[in-house]
């Protein structure tokens, strides 16, 4: 079994006439939290959407747990054990929190069939999910919606959790809650790939890091090495963390 749960080899993606990814190479180690960093427009979201099959790779190869998933439909990628939280959170605003969670629990037909132990664990991570269980998701605040989006992704055990900018637009106190929650998820053994602009968030959580620019990965290594090298931070990110 490979040490890497997910690898991308020379992945190119076109969206219409635009060539967005120019040969992305990325390796996500098992059981670790990998941060994908880079400025706006570097290709981070496109990379995540290409992994999920929401946009098709025009060249290159994506391998998940030993299986080539480059040409798989989104729903088949998801069924292999990949959970995805998009940048816009993908909450179904007209459904209740319970219904959002039930949808993500593919094994359950009714709320009563959901894994109650796992649900209690999720309620401890994100108390707002339990508090607003029967409320329409559209009525939640931005932070509560983000918690629901992540909670929904982990309602059943998944091998890989992919999250696009979980701290975007959130108040500092909620970001701290979110960091704690991801730390607990990481401790439970799930592999996580996070796109993040919040450098503090990245530094506190990341085990490994990949930095993107202009549609390619320009640096890959450990978060600790990047955190300790101010010159490297400035050259890659334009600022020191």
């Amino acid at each position: 079994m490979s040490d890497h749960l997910l690898t991308l080899e020379g992945v190119h993606t076109h969206i219409g006439a635009y060539h967005i990814l120019h040969g992305v190479d990325l390796a996500v180690p098992r059981g670790q939290l990998t941060m994908l960093l880079g400025r706006n427009g570097a290709g981070k979201t496109t990379t995540l959407r290409t992994i999920m099959g929401l946009w098709r790779a025009s060249a290159g190869r994506i391998v998940f747990d030993g299986q080539d998933i480059t040409r798989l439909d989104t729903q088949r990628v998801a069924r292999l054990g990949v959970a995805y939280v998009p940048e816009n959170m993908g909450i179904f605003a007209d459904l209740t929190v319970k219904e959002n969670m039930l949808l993500a629990a593919r094994q359950a037909r009714t709320a009563a069939q959901m894994d109650s132990q796992r649900l209690q664990w999720i309620f401890r991570l994100f108390p707002a999910v339990e508090k607003f269980w029967l409320h329409p998701a559209g009525k939640l605040s931005g932070g509560q919606k983000q918690m629901l989006a992540v909670a929904r992704a982990i309602v059943e055990p998944r091998q890989l959790l992919i999250v696009d900018e979980p701290s975007k637009g959130l108040a500092p106190a909620i970001i701290n809650n979110m960091i704690d929650a991801f730390a607990q998820m990481k401790a439970s053994g799930v592999t996580i790939l996070l796109v993040e602009q919040n450098i503090n968030f990245a530094r506190r959580l990341g085990d490994t890091v990949a930095v993107m620019d202009n549609g390619i990965v320009i640096h890959a290594g450990t978060m600790q090495a990047l955190a300790e090298d101010e010159a490297l931070q400035r050259s890659l990110l334009g600022l020191a963390i």
Partner: protein, 324 residues
Amino acid sequence: MKDFDWKPLALVPLLALLVLPFIGSASTWVTLTVAGLAMGMIVFVIASGLTLVFGLMDILNFGHGVFIALGAFVATSVLGSMADYTASASLWTNLMAVFPAMLVAMLVAGAVGLAFERFIVRPVYGNHLKQILITMGGMIIGEELIKVIWGPLQIPLPLPEGMRGALLLGDAAVEKYRLLAVIIGLAVFGALLWVLTRTKIGLLIRAGVQDREMVEALGYRIRTLFVGVFVAGSALAGLGGVMWGLYQQNVVPQMGGQVNVLIFIVLIIGGLGSTSGALIGALLVGLMANYTGFLVPKAALFSNIALMMAVLLWRPQGIYGAGR
């Protein structure tokens, strides 16, 4: 339910009460109101499938009318072959012919809907202009095929013996068939509501209406759901076609196109994609058509367009529009 928007529900009794002084006679008002509700229920059965097809699939299916006509023509064949049952004065015996006719009409319309989705709709996903053109073309082809099978002329579809006549409520006469149409319409609404709110399939449909991509990302094959909803919508149109044919007591190959206008008014009033909106829109359209048909016959078609304009001035996305 505390978040449910109850205001649009008041429109139906409000409209009925507003016209009462103009009609004058309470018995005539009752007769017209029941007739309007029955017509509204039939239009709802037809429109309910289309609103889901639009909401979930973002498909503008202007060919929906062909399933209505198909259902009605299938009913002429089935009921024609069960003359012993339809000639009986017993309502129960009549129902033993009408219900199988409805079932066969739904099966045939559903099967044709499956082919329609595969060969006509699927190649134009995501392009509204092409959808309008090709589905209208599909309806023309469907009408011509109906003429090939059943002939180009109007075919009578008389009400079974036991469904004819009216019940007297005081001085008001309420036609038996219209009561039956209301009951069937309510049953369809109840069944749809149950599926949409109490089952996982319904949950997926409601989620798919909001964000198809996310439903896929959760591991569900939205394409299968699309096809299922399209087939169910076609089958409901077939059922509505039987009800409409019996309501008119005759069928013509062009009937689908004629009813299409009413359906789209209903969907726009109700808000595209909303089942509850389609019910209220259909009831409003049915009542308005009957009231104006009695009070100002020449304004019958215009009245529903005026109603649609008034609703859109109040709520530009329709009464339960999703704000798309």
